[in-house]
Structures are given as C-alpha cells and as structure tokens.
Symmetry: C2
C-alpha cells in the first residue's frame, strides 16, 4: 500500500474527537508501585478487549462513500481483526479478514460474531499478504494494515490524548513518562504524537525486541531468525514500520525487553491489585515496571493494551510459579 502521508499530532486530535463521540473513555486506574502513584490505562476493557478499534475507526471513517461500499480487507489472527470488524459493523461496511486456518477458534468466532467474513489460509504454504492484496484488488476493497498506516497510528494515539485528560482530572498532572507495549509500534508512535512532552518507553518480549534494537541502531532491524516462543501473540511482529520507527526515533524513545516469567508476574499482579484480566502482550509494560526495568516516577502512565485470553493458558499463567509451566502457542505470523 502506498504511504500517502506521515501521521501527525493534528491527526491524533481529530481521531480522539471522533472516537470520543462513539466510545466512552476506557477506565484509568491509579495504584501505587514502589511507593509512587502510577496511572494504568485499561484498554483491555474496550468492547473488543483491546485498543485496536481506535485505529480501525479513524481509518474506516476516512474512507469516502465509494470506498465504504466496496469494503475493507485486513489480515490478522487477533485483536486487529476484531477492531476492524467492530468498526466496519458500526459503519455498515463489508469487512473481510484473512486468518490462518489454525487461528484460535475463540478469535475466529469473535470476528464472525462482529459480522465479518473470514477467509482462511494455510500458514505453511500460503502468504497472507498476497491473499489479502488479491482479495482487495478483486473487490476494489481497501486494505487496512495493523500498524503501517498513518490513520491507524493516529487512531491508536487517541489513547494518549484520553489518558492525559483523565490523569489531569485525577490530579496526577499530565503524563511525563509513558510505558507502552510494542508489536509493530502503532500504539507507541501514536501516543508519542499525542504527548509531545512525554518520555516514551516501548516494551517487547525478549527475542522479539526489534524496536528496541532498531532504536539503538538508528535503523530498522528485524526480529532475528528463530525467535523464541512467547505467550505474547499480540506482539509477534517480525519488522516494524518506517512510519512508526521514525516517530519513535525522533522522540528518542527507549526500548526494554521482558521475560516470559516477568509477563506472567505482571498478569498475576494485574489480577490481584487491579482486578483486571490482561493478556500477555498487554501486560509487558506493567512487567517492565514491576521487574524494575523501568523505575516508577511522578506522572507515569502504563498502558494495559489488551485483555483477550484463552482461559486455560491464563489460569496457568497466573497460578504460582511452582505450577506447571504455561503452554505457549506456536510461533504465529506477524503483525496483529
């Protein structure tokens, strides 16, 4: 897809206004960590269980009438699929989601329940980008990327604008330091645009910390060969986008990597202290804070980006560590 423009702060403001018109703010909770009040933005409590409906809404509402009639195509096995399906349903547009044939049944069912058509492909023998591009061309539909798109980035950035308002209402002052989960970097880049004064720390699972390495190297480095298994399916992105990377690099964002055990500890803490179910990929920023890889400080905002879990894996993850190790899903394809 041709990139027609860079994402902007004005675009984030526009997205935030559009989203505020249809969705109540997701809750912001304040809890002490290391003796410091820290703000937690619970995007896990969105109707589709993740922030992804924000970018999808901003992108789909930017389509003209003719484009709306022809619909949208996206590839994703997870939260982006549901975000696009949710936005398309509200706009009464056809949506087609390309999903691996072995995607978790619960995610497939949730996408179907939102009225989207699901096209399956074989992860081993077919390339979903080719399938999606062909579908889009055949139908004249618009392809909606999960992060490599200025509208998607601006839409996700509305999390930053909304959190800033909530923190000020809570008497915490504006966000000074945002700690945010990172797959392709759409959420982190959008928040960076929304909050020009804040420091940004992106958090990834160990072995999948390509944004961290890219920021250190000052050019985009992909995930290495044979990355380790991770429970953070939402963050398994093989390569970030120039759009997201440039925003974060210009802002001198830092990267941190967390272990699988640190992620499980964060999920457990969120369950007990915040009474929230947070998925592994949604818990990495909290994991970095609790592990002491990021120090708590005044004006800290931690994003809990998603809460869609398989209940069996979740029960194992939050059980004390002496229990059987959680079963991790096999390496899935990137980008959603």
């Amino acid at each position: 897809m041709a990139i027609v423009r860079q994402p902007t702060r004005a675009g984030v403001r526009d997205a935030a206004a559009k989203i505020a018109a249809i969705l109540p703010s997701s809750p912001l909770f304040v809890a002490p960590v290391q003796g410091m009040p820290v703000a937690f933005k619970a995007e896990s409590l969105q109707p589709v269980g993740a922030f992804k409906l924000r970018g999808a809404w901003h992108r789909l509402t930017a389509l003209d009438e003719a484009q709306r009639t022809r619909g949208v195509v996206a590839f994703s096995s997870g939260n982006h699929a549901q975000g696009v399906a949710w936005a398309a349903k509200r706009l009464d547009m056809p949506a087609t989601i390309v999903m691996p044939a072995d995607a978790p049944r619960v995610k497939r069912d949730a996408t179907l329940a939102l009225g989207a058509e699901v096209v399956s492909y074989d992860r081993m023998t077919e390339d979903r980008t080719v399938i999606a591009a062909r579908l889009a061309e055949a139908r004249g539909a618009t392809l909606v990327p999960s992060f490599d798109d200025p509208w998607i980035i601006e839409g996700q950035g509305s999390v930053g604008a909304e959190s800033a308002r909530q923190m000020e209402l809570s008497g915490l002052g504006g966000p000074m330091h945002v700690v945010v989960p990172c797959g392709g970097g759409g959420l982190a880049a959008g928040i960076a645009l929304a909050l020009p004064e804040a420091r940004i720390t992106v958090v990834e699972p160990e072995g999948w910390d390509d944004m961290r390495r890219s920021l250190e190297a000052s050019w985009i480095e992909p995930v290495g060969p044979n990355p380790p298994p991770t429970a953070c399916d939402a963050l398994q992105t093989m390569r970030v986008s120039p759009l997201t990377f440039e925003v974060l690099a210009r802002r001198d964002a830092k990267g941190v990597a967390v272990s699988e055990a640190e992620v499980r500890a964060a999920q457990r803490w969120a369950a007990v202290k915040l009474r929230l179910v947070v998925e592994p990929g949604g818990a990495v920023a909290l994991a970095a804070l609790l592990a002491g890889k990021v120090a708590a400080e005044p004006g800290m905002l931690v994003i809990l980006s998603g809460g869609n879990v398989d209940v069996e894996a979740y029960a194992k993850a939050i059980a004390p560590e002496t229990a059987e190790a959680p079963a991790f899903p096999a390496l899935s394809d990137s980008g959603a």
Copy 2:
C-alpha cells in the same frame, strides 16, 4: 446498636450525591447473554475492589465532629473492613477493625495499608461482636455494622442510582430487573430503595440461601446448621437483618441459589467476556443468569459486587473443570 430509623430512598439519593463527589462511577459494561444486551455493573473495580466503601462513606460522613474524633470500630475479615478503613482514612479518622487471627494475610495487609488498626481474635474461643462492642465502648467509638444499619444500606444503594444513569446514557433505558449478590442484604435492599420500579432478584450460594428462604416464608430464617463449604466468603452471613429483609419483602423480591460449579463458570465467563477478575461472592448474580436460573430480558442489570481474590484459588476456579477442584476456605464467620 439501637436502630434509630429506617433506610429511605431520599437517603439513597443523598448517599449517591456524596459518593459521586469523591469517586468516579464504576464502569458499566454491556454484553449479550442469551441474545439480549445485559448491563454489568463492575463494583469489583472500586479502589478497594468492592462496593463496601459506599456504605462506609455515607455512614462515616454522617458522624458529628466529636464522633469523628473518637473514631469507628468494625468487625469483618473482608471487604467491609477495607471499605471502612478506606473511608476513615479519607476522613482522617481512627478506625479499628476486629479480624480473626486466621484471616487471609492479604486482607489483613490491605486493611493495615489503609491505615486502620487491626485487632485479632481467636475464632474458636472469642466472640467478635463482644470484642468490638467493648472496644467501641472503651474508646467512645462508633460501631459500623456491615449491613444492619440504615446508612450502610442507603450507601450501598448508590450502586442502583449510578447504574440507572449509566444505563440511560447507554440507551438501554432504566433498569427493569436487577440481579444482585446477597450476604446480609445491604446491597440488595439499598438498590431496591434506589430503583422503586425495578424487580429485584437476590442470589446466594446453595446452603447459604437464607434470604431466599426468608422471603418465601415471610419471616427471617437463619442459615441452617452445618452449612456446606463455599468459595463465596463474602456471602457467608448466618442471618439477615430486619432492616434489609423488610425492604426486600415489601418489594416482593425473589431469591435464587447457585452451586459452586455455577459460580466458577461465571468467574470464567467474566474473565473471558468482560476481562474482569470477579471474586466468587461477586459472581453469584452472573452465575444465576448464565445457569438459566434467571432469564435474560430487556433492562436487565447484573451486579458484579467484588473482585478481591486469592490468586491461587482464583487460578484454580477459572481453569477448566477437569482440573483439580478448587480449595475452599473453611467456614468463616458471618457478616462481611
């Protein structure tokens, strides 16, 4: 404690206004059950993880200056303890909580962290009501019951007033039928006062369904001898109060009992569908709905009253039923 007055709807309105001035509304979520949109009020997301801070706030703010200086005494091993401690801390009043020596460490620590003094007693040899009454008399402090008190009932009723406003804003219309967990009945009676047009169904664990039996018999019947073990520690009340019973009986409220397995299924559903951690006692109303013991209908409001869990027991409860049966706490004392 001498009952000086009946709880009233005007009192609930007053309580709701006082509580709105210090606490944001707890989130209300809408999710389909049996094809019907049902509203879920997440009191589990309150700062102390349960609705109990509402009644405590209404009660403590009704004390005069001299009473405030002498402080409050409560007995509870759970959520009421934290509610009273939270309210006392905000009002800069001394609070003493009488807790069994074998209370879960996490609840004791949470109460201490809120600045309360904790007095331990031996569950087998001592009577906490006597200890609390003696402490209150010695200090000139006010005893704060967990449900047998008009202010407590009115304060808890603010859940109903708040939910009604949120449901109307969501386009669902006002609550027509409220399904609510019941221990001593303070929450259910308060909501009944707040919503004079709504039908009320109270839900209790099997064997602890004394409010159900009392409503059927038209007089108060206590829990029978040797009640079964239950994971719903928040609902282990041996006898309801005339104050709560009268309100519910006058409103022709109905009672339903749920099994331990139905409670676990509800906790699992809340984790996956709502991404919320709900404690066993907080999940009984949802359990009744999911088990088909209450039919979904337009204008239905289900209260999720608390989310304070021991993470190990919680992990076992939400794991698929083939797993080891959850360990239930021993029969605890009543009323909190």
